[in-house]
Amino acid sequence: MATTGTMHLQRISTSLAVLLALFSLLNSAKCDEQVPLILWTSEGVSTSTQAPPAAGHIVEQQQLSSYLEKALNEGAKNVVLFLQDKMSIEDFTMYGGAFGNKQDSVYPNLEVALMSSSSRLVLPAVSWPASNAVIGQLQDQLETSPLYMDPETLSQLRLNASSSALLVFRLPYGIGADLMSAKEILSGNDEVIGQVMSIMKSQSVPYTAIYTALRPSREAASLSMEAGQGGGRSLLQYRGGYRDRERERERQRKVKERPGVYGPVEFKEGDETCILLWAKSLSVKILRSGTWEDHDLTPSTFGEGVSPKLHGSSCDKTKARLVLNYENVLGHRSFKLMFAMSQRHYKVSARRWFTLDAVELEYDGTKATFNGSRHIYAPAEYSYRCESVTNFRWPLLTPRTSKDPSNQWRVSFEDFQIQGFNVSSSEFSYASDCAGFFSPGIWMGLITSLLMVLVLTYGLHMIMQLRTMDRFDDPKGPAISVPQTE
């Protein structure tokens, strides 16, 4: 009886909870969108500063009209309204130099205007559909009709301090375009604000300026009708929408702007790319009279728009040779860096592999050769990638002989990736990394531990099968007595 009662109760409470959730979501759907509003008066107009709203408070229509009323009653009758198509507080966070990077801010003129104004009011969150009524409210309070203008027409207008005027400047905002242009647009809007401010200053008419928008530029991510009605979404569901697209575009833009990302060095045989090489950095050092002199070859080999000279490179089905030609490296007029690769079929693994046979430095007729085939190899269909390819630090390249001039050199590649065969569409194939899952050290530890565990197991087994002798036990007989005295 009790269980059915509690279950009934549970069912009622869950349905109530769902209803409440739906209501709250629907309610919040109405006022989940906010638009900021910034109001400032010109210098010389003294008004009592209004208390800004508490942080996080969303200003409703009533409150907004009371703010505006107060500002206009005490302030100037000339109102300059900058009405942007879309604006959210996130625009200020993203482009306003809010993270200590004031030089990147797109609002310098706005900031100057706010700083120099005698009173200002910043409402970061005015509930959205209510904020559309700003023009209407201003119209009512000033009892004039709005004049839509731009800076050129403003300079021709004569303003009067006693009569009220409502000057509206429509400012655009990017519509779903990529982020680059949004920044430019905001910057352009700020220019317009600056121009208007300077014109108003030159006319020396007291004014009140308001900067707001018609609608928010960012959707709240949780706001979508499906969420309210469907009863919920799974945690891992992709939340499509403006915010995510923005984030993705931001990330891609950052990737393009980051200095470390550029295409590989490509050698084309005819029309098709044959050899690909990429590295984060490439440097060579030579030992001359006891000191190491180094030269960084990265800027002349890799980078956006850098194309090194590849004369002498060749590739065919079994051999590939990439030659990078430089000039004036460490005092040598001509300096060549050559990668010699070869591929063939290996019977035991029944697979084609390619190896980087040699890395050669040729300068002034001398040739320094490093062998790389011991460590630098990969299946022929894949590319080879390694975090660090050097001949001195965990060396993968070794001098060919002990007398070779390569003993005087130190070559170092960072984040090295190479592919000499089976290149398709100038992109690297799957990268076979030089680092495996277990390092040799781990394997060694595992093998020796295994051996010792085996020994331990065997010993344990022997000890555990020792039994006390019970052949002559006689539980019914007399107990053995050991006399103390001899």
Partner: protein
């Protein structure tokens, strides 16, 4: 099933299932080429192999000797209760077992003398031959001494008990023991051959 059987079956099952799952993963992702025994054999430090060889040489020989002495010793002491005259003569069996441990330690010292850091480090082929020879030599001498020790022990135990019954039997059984001891010697000879090849190849 008793406790031992459960433990061993559990461990074997875990081991083989790990191997199976790893193998399946390699196959599914077409990364079979990364399973590279040659890489393991060449990339691991030669000192691991050398040290394993030395360790196995001495420890396995000592295990064999100890086991042999334990078996013979208990028989001699047991038989000596009723026939005390066997004590001195049967110490020969113990000495045969001990010889096995001596072979082990000699080989361990010989092998460890080769495991020095040399400038030949650069000549990689040398290292391959050397490390595996050392490991192989250690393994050879270790295992042959292990079984030799056990063999001599069991024969020696029989010899002691037979001697307790009938004194003339001892010398006959000693011959069997000598044959048993020879196999330990074979192991030592082969191990020396393995390691000497490396020295001469230098």
């Amino acid at each position: 099933m008793n406790g031992h059987a459960i433990l061993y079956t559990g461990v074997t099952l875990a081991f083989w299932s790990t191997i199976l799952i790893v193998g399946i993963c390699y196959t599914i992702f077409d990364l079979g080429f990364r399973f590279d025994v040659a890489w393991f054999l060449t990339e691991t430090s030669p000192f691991m192999w050398a040290s394993l060889g030395i360790g196995l040489a001495i420890s396995l020989s000592v295990v064999g000797a100890a086991w042999g002495i334990y078996i013979t010793g208990s028989s001699i002491i047991g038989g000596g209760v009723k026939a005390p005259r066997i004590k001195t003569k049967n110490l020969v069996s113990i000495i045969f077992c001990e010889a096995v441990a001596i072979y082990g330690i000699i080989m361990a010292i010989v092998i460890s003398n080769m495991a020095e850091v040399s400038s030949e480090h650069l000549l990689l082929i040398m290292i391959q031959k050397k490390r595996y020879s050392m490991f192989g030599a250690g393994l050879t001498v270790g295992f042959s001494n292990l079984f030799c020790g056990i063999c001599v022990g069991i024969v020696g135990s029989g010899a002691a008990l037979a001697d307790a019954q009938n004194a003339s039997l001892f010398v006959k059984i000693l011959i069997v023991e000598i044959f048993g001891s020879a196999i330990g010697l074979f192991g030592v000879i082969v191990a020396i051959l393995q390691t000497s090849k490396v020295k001469m190849g230098d």
